[in-house]
């Protein structure tokens, strides 16, 4: 999806980006960004000075400064417009699925009235037939049908929905007929929220962004103060000691233009990264909060484990070979289409090194709650059975002892034993266990390193829970968990000042989702759960919570890194500009001694610093959009690495950059 969006961006949006880049120059819009507003005012001042300039030499200098300043602002507005366009491309994609749907509204008298989907309101009932688009978010009150949700989730396999399930507007019914009750008014649906958020139209600044803006505002004020007082102070050396154009250039170099230009792009891009993993956040605040999470509560089934128990081992009794047991198990499960049954077949094939399945001729015996076993009556008369250990024991005539020992052994590992028998002889035990999703253990280890505690919630007994917890590498677990237990866990963590994230899909998860600081509801879940959470995963993949936490952290790191870089850059700019700006003042020309970069001419030095200041903005746009590189590690390591990358290099790079630009300007006779 991201790739196709990129392509679309090139064709359809480049003109829009260009238009927005200039539209954003409007001071009314610019006022929200005090740093760039100062640059804009500076540009107007130097433009005026260009016209007022006394001679050709100073006029061309003033004009050059004006042009560079103007380009600096354009880079800033472009960054924002570009980030917005990327979001808009994504929104457009969603909106296309949404537009021009008709709805068949079911009246109280049973009559059907056709209307536009935009006229639907909460509580209305609508009928949806095969191949029609579901007109709005709602709950199924009648019918069973398969729904193609690929428009939203990108997942092509249709999903079966039954009464009580939630459906999303914009998805398509591919079989049967449904009656749904609309649960949200138009404009409030998930699609609407997602569109508004990714477009950045409804973007509200998040708490950290506000705090950072405040700091940037005060820093700008300090630099305005430094530069504005410099003019009268320098008068100590004579009335013409400073040049206004140069002062403006110095000011623009000093104020944190890099972060000022990219701050809103970082925020917009952060939201986009969340929606790129198909998560709808109801606010930017919750994405940022995800970065601060201390504890994550995860359901075992479906989140940590693949959701079904799998056969992992055979335990044959003394006088039976492993192959015999495997074969019996295979035969008994041939007709078993449940994931558990399939896993028995897979394990047996692996044990017997079979490439193709043998053909079993006979009468399959399906599982029933009464017999608690299933199997097959083969054509050769053999009766193969697998089932609960107790049920099989009641069936066979052998000694129970060995089988019971195996069953106990398996249960102690937190797994489920299934006994296998042929006729009246018990052959052994199959071990069924929960299998942890691949890669999770690694993920949890990373989280632990970042100081995030993972807690697994499961309805299993303590033994089973402990085994899975150990296997998955979570820090803690709650066994035999009831929904209330989750809430009390969240509350107790929160009372210690921790921020808690959780996923959930059931109605009984809703209170816990609401209580959690970050509640990721599954799109496949109930309406109540979706209302309670502050994010919704359209793909209904609970592990997604981990991605969201990463995005949240990356968002904060990117802001911090670019701010640090912006401020660190100023050191070199001082060394470029201060000696240059006083070069013409009799007693102060000796400050040339501070020109450590060996910049050729005063004007060239100032222009080089200013050009560097402008160019660094587009150079950092990729970091703003993609976020700075982020890996899971302890805070101290991360801090050390980022301080080096953005702080230390932030001091060094501009020395090299300004020197280089000065050389290039020299080629054109500008320095």
């Amino acid at each position: 999806m991201a790739k196709s969006l990129g392509l679309r961006l090139n064709r359809e949006y480049s003109s829009q980006v260009l238009k927005d880049t200039f539209r954003k120059l409007n001071p009314v819009e610019m006022i929200h960004n005090p740093v760039m507003m100062v640059v804009e005012i500076g540009t107007v001042v130097t433009l005026w000075l260009t016209f007022e300039a006394p001679g050709a030499g100073s006029r061309s200098y003033d004009a050059l400064v004006t042009v560079i300043l103007f380009v600096t602002i354009l880079f800033a507005t472009f960054a924002e417009a570009y980030a917005e366009a990327r979001g808009r491309a994504q929104a457009e994609f969603l909106r296309r699925t949404k537009s021009s749907t008709t709805a068949k509204v079911l009246g109280p008298d049973g009559a059907i009235a056709v209307t536009d989907s935009s006229k639907l309101t909460k509580g209305m009932r609508a009928v949806v037939d095969k191949d029609e688009v579901i007109p709005g978010d709602g709950v199924i009150i009648e019918g069973v049908a398969s729904v193609d949700e690929s428009a939203i989730t990108g997942e092509s396999a249709p999903v079966v929905k039954v009464a009580g399930d939630a459906v999303t507007g914009g998805t398509t019914l591919i079989s049967d007929r449904l009656i749904i009750e609309i649960t949200v008014n138009q404009g409030e649906s998930f699609l609407d929220r997602m569109i508004a958020l990714v477009e950045g139209a409804k973007r509200q600044k998040t708490p950290n962004e506000i705090a950072l803006s405040a700091l940037l505002g005060v820093l700008t004020l300090i630099f305005v103060l430094v530069v504005v007082t410099l003019a009268p102070i320098a008068r100590f050396y004579g009335p013409g000691a400073t040049n206004t154009t140069t002062l403006v250039a110095l000011l623009v170099c000093l104020i944190p233009t890099t972060i000022g230009a990219l701050l809103s792009a970082i925020g917009i891009a952060g939201m986009n990264r969340v929606s790129q993993v198909n998560v709808v956040a109801k606010s930017g605040r919750s994405v940022e909060a995800a970065g601060d999470i201390d504890t994550i509560i995860l359901d075992k089934t479906g989140t940590i484990t693949v959701g079904n128990r799998m056969a992992t081992e055979f335990y044959p009794v003394a006088n039976t070979s492993l192959d015999d047991l495997a074969e019996a198990a295979l035969l008994s499960s041939m007709a078993d289409t449940t994931p558990e049954g399939r896993s028995v077949v897979d394990l047996a094939r692996e044990n017997l090194s079979l490439k193709v399945l043998p053909k079993a001729v006979g009468e399959p015996i399906p599982f029933s709650a009464h017999t608690r076993m299933s199997g097959i009556d083969l054509a050769d008369g053999r009766q193969v059975r697998k089932g609960a250990v107790n049920a099989i024991l009641a069936l066979v005539s052998d000694s129970h002892k060995e089988l019971e020992t195996f069953a106990e052994q398996v249960a102690r590992q937190g797994a489920t034993p299934l006994a296998v028998a042929v006729d009246n002889h018990a052959l052994g035990v199959i071990c069924l266990r929960d299998v942890v999703k691949p890669g999770l253990k690694e993920r949890f280890r990373e989280f632990r390193e970042m100081g995030i505690r993972t807690v697994m919630a499961t309805g299993d007994n303590r033994i089973t829970a402990a085994v899975i917890a150990e296997e998955a590498g979570v820090d803690d677990f709650i066994a035999e968990a009831k929904p209330e237990d989750k809430i009390s866990l969240i509350r107790s963590e929160q009372s210690q000042g921790k921020l808690v994230a959780m996923t959930g899909d059931g109605t009984n998860d809703a209170p816990a989702l609401a209580q959690a600081d970050v509640g990721l509801a599954m799109n496949s879940g109930t309406m109540a759960a979706k209302e309670a959470g502050n994010m919704i995963d359209l793909e209904s993949n609970p592990t997604k919570l981990l991605e969201v936490v990463m995005v949240g952290k990356q968002l904060l790191i990117t802001r911090g890194a670019l701010t640090t870089f912006s401020i660190a850059n100023d050191v070199a700019k001082y060394f470029a500009i201060i000696p240059a700006m006083f070069a013409a003042v009799p007693t102060l020309h000796l400050l040339e001694g501070m020109n450590v970069m060996g910049l050729k001419t005063p004007h060239g030095a100032i222009l080089s610093a200013l050009i560097f200041n402008a160019l660094i903005i587009p150079a950092l746009i990729p970091f703003a959009i993609r976020g700075v590189k982020y890996r899971a590690e302890s805070s101290d390591k991360m801090l050390a690495r980022n301080i080096f990358n953005w702080g230390v290099l932030g001091v060094i790079i501009p020395f090299v950059g300004i020197w280089g630009i000065d050389r290039i300007l020299g080629l054109f006779g500008l320095s």
Partner: protein
């Protein structure tokens, strides 16, 4: 480097290292109301005071109440001081029969002593009676540093999860438990070194040349002790600690240096003791200590190398001894001046105006940073202000909302801290700009070239940092400077205290977050380094241009043998 220099430095630095922990623990005990050895002599007295003013030891105030109490009390101090100076002629202990102090001077003096700046527009020996010296000015020298210390304590309490406390209780305890006992000890040592402590009149001596000389005396030792213990810095006599009667020997010099630093350094450790973050206290101490050593080196080495112009003439010198006292030598002088600028005391044992440009840069660093331990309590507040700004800037880079001691640093704290940071350069830069821009200000400039500009900057920096020392040569007695520096002094003193109290209250109200491996640790050498670097960068960005026009330009001119 001479033996005496090495010895002086070693003794002073070792003494600080040894004293920081016991002093800090003692301060922490006093202000968390734990038993100390001074309970016996003072508890009854304090309880009497508390009964009279109607407060209880354990009562608490909000940041606003604390701030209002602080401001109102300080205003009262200034008014009482002014009245007493105006009535000097009618008050006792006036053997020289000095008359009433004139209104402007009485105002200037009362305001300057009330803000712990102790900028002196008079010569004590010719203007002040004994009563004015020990009854009025010495009194202010106790209560105003106590005010700053109390503000620091209130903030530290908030950071340690306690309520802010009661200003009047803290003010009283600062005097009874810290300043008075220490002042008694230091006074006795100084008397032992020959500093006068008498109410007898001035002496009239006959010199070898057959002339008569008036030698001013008075209760000098007691003045000297609180002058330094409270980082006050106003001299009993005009020559301040360069006068042999105030600072007679190398030993008294060391005692005065230690008196200046003891409490500011102790407050850094008390912060760790009260919050339970002793490692953090050592981190902050190392950062401030690092700046102290840089200042010391910057003060000493250029002076020891001597003036390059004189050196080039082939006149062998023992460094630049202009304006320095031989009894302290280069080492003792540089340590004293570094201390007086680092701890924002403002007393001087030499003529700052006569230092070489690079050395004077060290004085500016002390006043600009204002947290190289700084005045007791206040210096710590300034350090923590930088800590908050640094944590916010750098803390984002670990991917969490920045937090300090388990409290989130959000918009309110960042805004208050950065405004507190802004204020200091604002006062200095705007003051200097006004002085250069207006004829009234330029009237006081007698030195042409960069040095003249440095003198103006020094005056405003000294006022804003509540230092009180002066770069001689500036006509500071002009109405322009009296008024402008007076205003700078008052804003510089109270505005940042208020901002920090509000930050303290705001942090106190927040939920405390547990520390995890994802939390940015502030008690590590890494953070110390980052803090050190960001303090340098933030201050360099603000003050680099005026330093380039002042001392740095002067240095380049000197190297080019350019004389004025």
């Amino acid at each position: 480097m001479s033996i005496s220099t090495m010895l002086t430095w070693t003794v002073v630095l070792a003494a600080f290292l040894l004293l920081i922990k016991p002093m800090g623990n003692y301060i922490a005990k006093v202000f968390t109301f734990q038993p100390t050895i001074l309970d016996k002599p003072f508890t009854a007295l304090e309880n009497g005071i508390f009964r009279v003013i109607g407060v209880s030891r354990a009562s608490n105030m909000t940041a606003r109440q604390y701030g209002v109490a602080l401001l109102a009390t300080n205003l009262l101090f200034a008014v009482l001081g002014y009245a007493a100076l105006r009535l000097q002629g009618a008050l006792p202990f006036n053997p020289q029969h000095l008359g009433a102090v004139n209104p402007q001077l009485a105002f200037n003096t009362a305001a300057s002593f009330a803000t712990n700046t102790n900028w002196q527009a008079y010569s004590g020996e010719n203007t002040m009676s004994y009563f004015s010296q020990f009854g009025v000015l010495s009194y202010l020298q106790f209560v105003t540093p106590a005010t700053g210390g109390a503000a620091g304590i209130a903030f530290v309490r908030a950071m340690s999860g306690r309520k802010l406390g009661n200003f009047f209780v803290d003010l009283t305890l600062m005097c009874t438990r810290l300043l008075l006992p220490l002042a008694v000890i230091v006074t006795l040592i100084l008397v032992g070194q020959g500093v006068p402590e008498t109410l007898g009149g001035y002496l009239h001596a006959h010199t070898l040349a057959g002339q008569t000389q008036t030698i001013p005396r008075g209760p000098i030792a007691s003045w000297e002790s609180i002058e330094h213990l409270g980082q006050n810095g106003g001299g009993y006599t005009n020559a301040n600690s360069a006068n042999p009667l105030e600072n007679p020997s190398a030993l008294s010099n060391i005692v005065e240096i230690l008196s200046m630093g003891l409490l500011p350094v102790g407050f850094f450790y008390a912060f760790g003791a009260m919050t339970g973050k002793r490692r953090l206290a050592w981190t902050l101490t190392s950062v401030a200590g690092g700046f102290f050593l840089i200042m010391l080196a910057l003060t000493y080495f250029p002076e020891a190398a001597g003036n390059p112009i004189i050196n080039s003439l082939g006149l062998a010198t023992h460094g630049n001894m202009v304006g320095k006292e031989l009894r302290f030598g280069m080492g003792g002088t540089s340590m004293f001046e570094t201390s007086t600028m680092a701890f924002t005391t403002g007393s001087v044992a030499s003529a700052h105006d006569s230092f070489l440009p690079l050395s004077s840069l060290s004085f500016f660093i002390g006043m600009f940073l204002n947290m190289v331990f700084g005045g007791k309590g206040v210096g710590l507040l300034n350090m923590l202000m930088f800590v908050i700004i640094t944590i916010f800037l750098m803390g984002l880079m670990v991917g969490r909302t920045p937090e300090f001691l388990g409290k989130k640093i959000e918009t309110k704290e960042v805004t208050l801290a950065s405004i507190a940071f802004l204020l200091h350069p604002f006062l200095i830069l705007v003051g200097t700009a006004l002085a250069v821009y207006t004829p009234a200000g330029m009237q006081g400039v007698f030195n042409p070239g960069p040095h003249g500009l440095s003198e103006i900057i020094y005056g405003f920096a000294s006022g804003a940092a509540n230092n009180g020392s002066a770069f001689g040569g500036l006509g500071a007695a002009l109405p322009f400077y009296e008024i402008a520096i007076g205003i700078v002094t008052i804003i510089g003193r109270y505005a940042s205290i208020m901002a920090m109290l509000l930050i303290g209250q705001s942090l106190l109200a927040k939920k405390s977050l547990p520390e995890t491996s994802g939390t940015m640790h502030t008690d590590t050498p890494l953070f110390g380094g980052i803090l050190f670097g960001s303090i340098i960068v933030l201050n360099a960005l603000t003050f680099f241009p005026i330093m380039a026009l002042g001392p740095i330009a002067e240095q380049y001119l000197m190297l080019a043998h350019h004389l004025f």
